[in-house]
Symmetry: C2
Subunit: 384 residues, 2 copies
């Protein structure tokens, strides 16, 4: 690599707009990927005439699977049968991780770029697009901390527009570390899960509010600062960020939602839940604001015992009050989750202090496949 060449290239840069190749139909062979077959096997394909090795990386399999180079430089492999679900995947092309260029469906995230494959199975799953009445998903801009404009995604159930006198309970639902405000919508399919449960009479029509868990990133973006790295879960910086999220939710998002949507604005009609970091933010926010939330759902997350003893003493010092106040404290985790032991310790702590909770230990790990399922289970319990 010659530094002289780079400097010349940079000097030669002219500030003008080019004809956009990207806006024209793609050159070369047309690749279709992924293709899900009737037997739940799936063929993945990727165009890379020059590559030496292409691997398939996907959460439906253990380890990477080599793809075979075929005609016109299209690499492909058929895997499975895969258990019906929605899975993140990517290609590793000579060691470089890439999304599937032929697939629109993607995983919104701060740090990695993955595609999504939907294996529908014979009977439609709880997140399937079915021929039922559909709610809407709205991207809202609200006044957030430090004079920034926050983004939040809001699901309104079917009939919200046509029943102008009806008020709805609200479920605040937080995604995990490096996820964005879009992840519960695009990966978690929260809207389709609720559409289906409501159509079957299994869930009460509710509004779901999906905030962005990384308030510091919004601040950095809007003040033109470098985006800060994510702090360790139990560091001082981690606690500060969690408090910042709690402030933003309680002081900014909830008032914004209650002003702009037709909601039942009392604690019996307010739920909070979250996955991974969002589960920790859920527990801190719920236990720090017992006047606000009667329903608390924690998916693959926990609070450390030290945190409980320092910040949330009243939860276990007065378990009767806690049990009276919380209509649901739900805790779920997968057996293979890296947070499994922390979560079970948390449950032991609650149990030994007579704090009631409902738990579900599932198969699987720290995945969006699991957390979708937890949402589907808890949505049937809320506000009943």
């Amino acid at each position: 690599m010659n530094k002289g060449i780079i400097n010349v290239s940079v000097l030669l840069l002219l500030v003008f707009q080019l004809n956009c190749l990207w806006a024209q139909p793609p050159r070369g062979p047309y690749v279709i990927s992924p293709v899900v077959h009737e037997d739940n096997t799936v063929t993945f394909s990727y165009l890379a005439p020059e590559a030496g090795q292409v691997l398939l990386n996907g959460q439906f399999q253990s380890g990477n699977v080599p793809m075979l180079k075929g005609e016109q430089g299209i690499w492909s492999v058929t895997v499975g049968p895969i258990k019906p679900d929605i899975y993140p995947y990517s290609f590793m092309v000579d060691g470089v991780t890439v999304m599937d260029p032929a697939n629109v469906s993607f995983f919104p995230n701060e740090r990695f770029k993955g595609s999504l494959v939907d294996v529908p199975g014979k009977a439609p799953l709880v997140h399937a697009m079915k021929n039922v009445p559909h709610g809407s998903v709205t991207y809202e801009y609200y006044p957030s901390v430090r004079n920034t404009t926050g983004r939040v995604v809001v699901y309104t159930p079917p009939g919200y527009n046509s029943n102008p006198d009806q008020e709805y309970p609200v479920f605040y639902l937080v995604s995990g570390t490096t996820d964005t405000e879009e992840t519960w919508f695009k990966v978690g399919r929260a809207n389709l899960i609720l559409d289906n449960l409501i159509a079957e009479g299994k869930a009460i029509p509710m509004i779901i509010v999906m905030p962005y868990g990384n308030v510091e990133a919004t601040i950095a973006e809007q003040y033109g600062l470098p985006k800060p790295a994510d702090p360790a879960r139990e560091s001082e910086e981690g606690a500060m960020r969690a408090a910042q999220f709690e402030t933003d939710l309680v002081e900014n998002i909830i008032p914004y939602i209650e002003k702009n949507y037709r909601v039942k604005a009392d604690r019996q009609n307010r739920a909070i839940g979250g996955f991974s970091r969002g589960g920790g933010q859920t527990l801190r926010t719920a236990f720090g604001n017992m006047d606000l939330f009667a329903w608390v759902c924690c998916y693959s997350a926990y609070l450390p015992q030290a945190d409980m003893e320092e910040s949330y003493r009243h939860i276990f010092l007065h378990p009767d009050q806690t049990n009276e106040q919380l209509s649901l404290l739900w805790i779920s985790v997968g057996k293979d989750d890296f947070l499994y032991e922390d979560t079970t310790s948390f449950m032991e702590f609650l149990k030994s202090n007579d704090v009631d909770f409902t738990s579900h230990i599932s198969e699987g790990g720290h995945t969006w496949m699991n957390t979708k399922q937890y949402l589907a289970e808890t949505a049937q319990l809320l506000f009943k």
Copy 2:
């Protein structure tokens, strides 16, 4: 590549869920990219310890620029100053095109995966996130052709929720080939452009409806068929697809919007516009339904003379009627656009047939930088 090894690998695939590395904090050095500096130079960075060559590809420059490998395997380059705007870019890592993993902002598209860099400049641009009242952007599901569920994105202006008696004009706005229903929102920033123009009193508060131009892709997705390639612009298949879009818009989307939103449902309060293929769809739909639209905006697109003479004879056989009916026929294109000559021929055809239109020949090419600007210009003319 040994086929035997692949077969063994495929056989070894087990259908189970793994701990999700993606949901955990990222390993390795934390990369911040892009970083926009005060002088409008921008530093791009990409982590690739094993790569032999990393290039920066971006619509702010001509040709690819080599990046330099630094500490911990992070490649980077500083380019510019770049003229303030939002630009698509990607990295080419040993010949493999990838999005920037550190950047959330992306270009929704069927065929390529690009990131977006926003160079804000000193004075905020027309698409900037400013401290003004913000509208909302809603993802709707509507009953579409062949019993499918279509997706459409809807901008409602600031105050839509708080003024329950106000009705609004509607602008149907279509993106280009390989774009999706999200592209006008995520790349075109149609919502922020309108927020800013409305705040300055330059545009009338309006609803903007952003459909997916590729109806055939929705059908394929929902019937589990392979997604068909995009036909050539002037092929029979291309015309069939354009007609299909027209049918979906006129028979499904417009009735859905007029049922579910508070709109002024007459032709003087209906506009249609589009970029590239969406511009062609706009012209076909407008000229084929003169009773529906009084305002027509065509960005970097045209109709072939043969099309005009076969399908839209009344447009130029009765120019007085056409001129009376159309409050605006806007045609814009960039001097470097690959559709420049076709567009100017189209304008010559209209002119020689005494059909009135307003045109803007801009600098630049077939880019979203240009089409954003065209939207900002035309939004100030509509419904006045």
